[in-house]
Symmetry: C2
Subunit: 282 residues, 2 copies
């Protein structure tokens, strides 16, 4: 496994891959890797000949007061995990490599779905994500790119921009990896105290409760979701949202249709997100 830190190095390394007509699978990450990321790499290995993982903590997707500075940079441990998972190449550029010296004037904006849910409490976040993913897509020029379903809204934004901007890249969503208690793996779990970690599993519990209520035939979705919010608040969460959307993030009009329940809540200073896809009855 090789590690490239410049665009020139990346392109030199990928050039023989392209000439050999091998397919390139791309897993963009911010590092501080866990088994959720590794599941993406394994999925990419199934689809593609060569797997490139980028490790780049992207400043433009962090808002003021968010954790850009303290976001863990753990390249050595990440490299070990990736080598074990069969990753072929790490691309770990500097901010200067990605954003250059001249002021950046260009942003990629995805309307509507980027302004809902997490977009409401994190203004500019998905513009930062969409812009850096567009840059990385153009740098790596992969055949397929792999994203975790934990960031369901991010995946929806990226699917949309890929189609809208006519990228010839397959976007593959990979199911959430959970720990033995059901907590969705996340780099931000590392910020939780052991007590908070115990509480954190209530997010998934709440999503399962909502699912059960829906599957038991209750039709008042607003009431179901409000009970879920109240439950989370009773456990000490500050709830940002608990909402139902169609898989492509449109409003749900029928309590028995295919839907995703999405949650974001703060525990202390740590913001956690999770979701559960509920297959519709009709």
């Amino acid at each position: 496994m090789r590690t490239e830190v410049t665009l020139q190095g990346l392109q030199a390394a990928l050039s023989p891959v392209r000439l050999a007509r091998k397919s390139i699978g791309f897993v963009p990450t911010m590092g501080n890797l866990h088994q959720g990321h590794i599941a993406l790499v394994r999925e990419a290995k199934k689809y593609c000949d060569v797997v490139v993982v980028s490790i780049f903590v992207n400043p433009t997707q962090f808002g003021a007061g968010e954790d850009f500075e303290k976001y863990p940079r753990t390249l050595e441990a990440d490299s070990q995990l990736l080598a074990d998972a069969g990753c072929d190449m790490i691309f770990a550029p500097s901010v200067q490599q990605v954003y250059g010296n001249k002021p950046q004037l260009t942003t990629v904006q995805v309307d509507d779905i980027a302004n809902d849910l997490c977009g409401k409490s994190r203004p500019g976040h998905f513009t930062g994500v969409a812009t850096v993913v567009t840059k990385l897509f153009n740098m790596v020029q992969p055949n397929a790119a792999f994203f975790g379903e934990k960031d369901w809204q991010q995946l929806a934004v990226i699917r949309h921009l890929t189609t809208d901007l006519c990228f010839s890249i397959d976007i593959i969503g990979v199911p959430i990896v959970r720990d033995e208690n059901g907590l969705a793996l996340s780099s931000r779990n590392g910020y939780l105290s052991s007590e908070e970690k115990q509480t954190a599993i209530q997010i998934y519990q709440t999503l399962k409760m909502v699912e059960q209520d829906i599957k038991s035939g209750q039709t008042d979705l607003d009431a179901i979701l409000q009970r879920g919010r109240d439950y989370l608040a009773s456990k000490g969460f500050v709830v940002d949202y608990l909402e139902a959307r169609t898989p492509d993030l449109k409003p749900v009009t029928d309590s028995q249709q295919d839907m995703v329940i999405l949650a974001a809540a703060k525990l202390g200073s740590t913001r956690l997100i999770d979701n559960l896809h509920i297959k519709g009855i009709h």
Copy 2:
């Protein structure tokens, strides 16, 4: 020369070109071609093995009340001109091919330089341009793309987005082609009456006057430009702007520096633009 009207057709046609490691030069146009476009094709032929010209009247770069509907569609005449110029492939997609069936949520925005000059009087225009050029770049995946310097601001916007979004595409600006009277060739010249066409040459005359004033050592640039605006108005133009900028569209701080004089003015209902690059003394 072949003509493709679908993305699938384009990609099938370009696939053997890429496999043969031939370079692809791309000339995006809205059709209704004239010798200014042909100069782009000839330049592309010099740089690249295969030249693709797109013909696509892009709805999203026309504002309300602009000439999208009446913009001339002249594919047959265009094809003849392009064949004669040595173009290898025309890509003439439908609006549906470029914008798809689903609502488009994604736009590419280039701040600052896109909000100046033409951007002021044509809100959203450069977002439409930047978005469609990003789409076309991803469809054609050229090695180099060729744009006329007549649309100096457009060229600056595209240079910026290409760098900012990390496209591996060389952007080549091609000098303005003028008729024997100095009128910059433009599809919109076709809207002018023969009398207006006589008047229209005064735009270039004005640019030359400004150049002469600067080269004669006059230093009050504001006064020089105001005389130019007054002159155009006296000839029957409604002046949108006559301004000086650095070549990358920053404010000019020294009347002897490298600069571009840019003009936009309406004659009747036809909006004309032109510019003149004045090489600085220091």
